[in-house]
């Protein structure tokens, strides 16, 4: 960042600084737009996350209630036995999605295949309901994890964008403007200097011409006498 001390007060530098101010202002506008878009995305995601969280709470209550009923109707040992029969979850795949340059995670997989649907038909109703509830809980937990990670990343990016735009708005542009002011001042000063110098030269030349003409007149008088 140039300081007033190491700026060359030249026309070229003046033009260059002026151009940098324009670019900085354009960048600032873009950063503000990005920040707005990120904030919008943040609020949308946070609304979804909040809805998912409250849904998760309700689903967890339902899940625990169904586990209680399953224990009551089928017994905890049968429940454990059936839990053992449930196929493993498929691997979780983490992809990413680009939102205004922010890479937010997108979870795929992690669920069971159709096999379990058939398996559910062979289970006591209470255990069936408990499994279904916790399948739903699992789905919501993955969604919540995805949304909350996205929220953290968006928040970090918003902060970063805010810091950048503040730096441009409050530090970078004012410094460039100060540089322009300094260059203008120096150029004006130089112009004034030149003007004064020219004036002085002109005055001195005038005085010299006047003196010469006086000398000449004096010489002519002497010749005439």
């Amino acid at each position: 960042m140039p300081t007033a001390i190491n700026i060359r007060p030249t026309r070229l530098e003046y033009i260059r600084t002026k151009r940098r101010i324009l670019i900085a202002k354009k960048g600032l506008r873009l950063l503000k737009l990005k920040r707005q878009a990120l904030i919008l995305e943040f609020f949308n995601t946070s609304k979804t996350a909040a809805a998912l969280r409250s849904g998760l709470q309700a689903e967890l209550l339902k899940g625990y209630e169904s586990i209680r009923m399953a224990e009551m109707l089928a017994g905890s040992m049968r429940l454990e036995n059936e839990a053992m029969k449930i196929p493993q979850l498929s691997n979780l795949q983490i992809m990413s999605k680009n939102v205004m340059g922010v890479r937010i995670p997108k979870l795929e997989g992690g669920a069971r295949q159709q096999l379990l649907t058939e398996h559910l038909l062979e289970l006591p109703t209470s255990i069936n309901e408990a499994i279904k509830s916790f399948q739903e809980v699992h789905r919501i937990v993955l969604d919540v994890a995805e949304k909350e990670t996205a929220l953290r990343k968006l928040l970090y990016e918003i902060e970063k964008t805010k810091r950048k735009s503040n730096a441009i708005e409050n530090v970078f542009i004012p410094r460039l403007q100060a540089a322009v002011k300094f260059i203008t001042f120096r150029l004006d000063e130089m112009e004034r200097d030149t003007f004064i110098m020219l004036k002085t030269v002109k005055r001195k030349m005038g005085e010299r011409e006047q003196a010469a003409s006086l000398e000449e007149a004096k010489g002519e008088e002497i010749i005439a006498e």
């Binding site: 196929p87 058939e118 038909l121 109703t125």
Partner: protein, 355 residues
């Protein structure tokens, strides 16, 4: 007049039936402060010895569950011993359900690659403190050999000496192609009910009510499958694979029921055969199918099981004893977990199967 071969078993089981808990005792259990008090109250009943044995290892309500299971193992053994030769096939066929439960568990664990140590504690066996219930058809040592097999194929091959092996072998190819155990499990269930119905032949002429009960049990299973499938929006083709033949409602009629738009409409179609009105009202409030299962159990209890008691000197008395002992175990367990989770006495009562 010749003496019935059931007179000895009738006398033996009648003497044991005195120990069955009365409705008042059940109500007292519901009134108990907590599960510990419940366990104390049960110590003075015929569950006492099993509770005392299990108390060193378990805490209520698991203590009660282990003791109740151990107790049921004993009552089942006594019932089988008390059954005369002609009826033994039917009683053994009824107990097949526990073997099937074990085999399903072993197959699932092998399919998922779980180890013996992970599976063994859950096995239904006749050890001193079984975690489950024994049928006695597959001895515990044999079960350990089956458990030691590597993979589903090994288990199926080991089971060939039992009828289960032949059933499972038919579906081994489809399992190897799809990795889905569903067809095997459905086939086992179908085999169970077929065996049970076949074993309940008319030796004396009074077995009709038990056959009716088993057929209604099949209907119950089919209707619950339809309800679960409708609730989850499963394809008709998949559901039809899980329907079992032999019930009072023919399979094509059950398929017709599945045309219903939703659970409520489906229940409406079944209403002519089962009384599910209050369960439907509860379903509309809670969106849970559990009450249908309880209502169907109650229906079977009221319409069939209670009647078995009145057919003295027949296999009906033995089945009555076995089923009532099972229901008693169910009821005590429901009360115990109801107490643990602070459910109201009214809610607990609604879940119980009473005489």
């Amino acid at each position: 007049m010749p003496t019935s071969q059931y007179s000895s078993s009738f006398g033996r089981l009648q003497a044991l039936s005195v120990n069955l808990l009365s409705k008042e005792t059940m109500q007292n259990l519901i009134k108990a402060k907590d599960v510990n008090e419940m366990a104390k109250m049960l110590e003075s009943t015929w569950y006492g010895p099993e509770i005392e044995k299990a108390a060193s290892t378990y805490q209520p309500p698991e203590l009660l569950e282990v003791a109740l299971n151990a107790h049921l193992v004993n009552t089942n053994r006594i019932a089988l011993e008390a059954t005369p030769f002609n009826g033994k096939v039917a009683v053994r066929a009824y107990f097949l359900k526990w073997d099937i439960h074990n085999i399903e568990l072993i197959l699932s664990s092998k399919s998922m690659g779980k180890t013996i140590t992970e599976t063994e504690p859950f096995l239904v066996s006749s050890r001193n403190f079984p975690a489950g219930i024994t049928a006695g058809n597959i001895p515990h040592d044999e079960m350990k050999i089956i458990l030691a097999q590597t993979g589903v194929d090994g288990v199926v091959n080991q089971l060939v000496k039992y009828p289960y092996g032949t059933i499972l072998m038919q579906h081994l190819d489809s399992y190897q192609k799809s990795g889905d155990l569903g067809p095997m499990m459905t086939a086992m269930q179908a085999f169970y009910y077929k065996q049970l119905l076949e074993s309940l032949r008319f030796f004396q002429g009074d077995e009709g009510i038990i056959r009716e009960m088993v057929r209604t049990e099949i209907d119950k299973k089919n209707i619950l499958s339809l309800l679960k499938a409708k609730d989850s929006g499963i394809d008709r083709e998949i559901v039809s694979r899980h329907l079992i033949e032999g019930g009072k409602i023919p399979l094509n009629e059950l398929s017709e029921f599945y045309n219903a738009k939703n659970v409520a409409e489906l229940v409406g179609r079944v209403e002519g055969r089962f009384v599910l009105g209050s369960a439907l009202a509860q379903y509309k409030k809670t969106n849970s199918l559990i009450d249908f299962e309880v209502a169907l159990d109650k229906f079977i209890y009221i319409n069939y099981i209670k009647k078995l008691k009145n057919i003295a000197l027949s296999i009906g008395t033995i089945f009555y004893f076995i089923i009532v002992a099972e229901h008693e175990r169910e009821n005590i367990r429901r009360i115990a977990y109801g107490k643990r989770y602070n459910l109201s006495a009214e809610r607990i009562n609604s879940m119980l199967l009473y005489e």
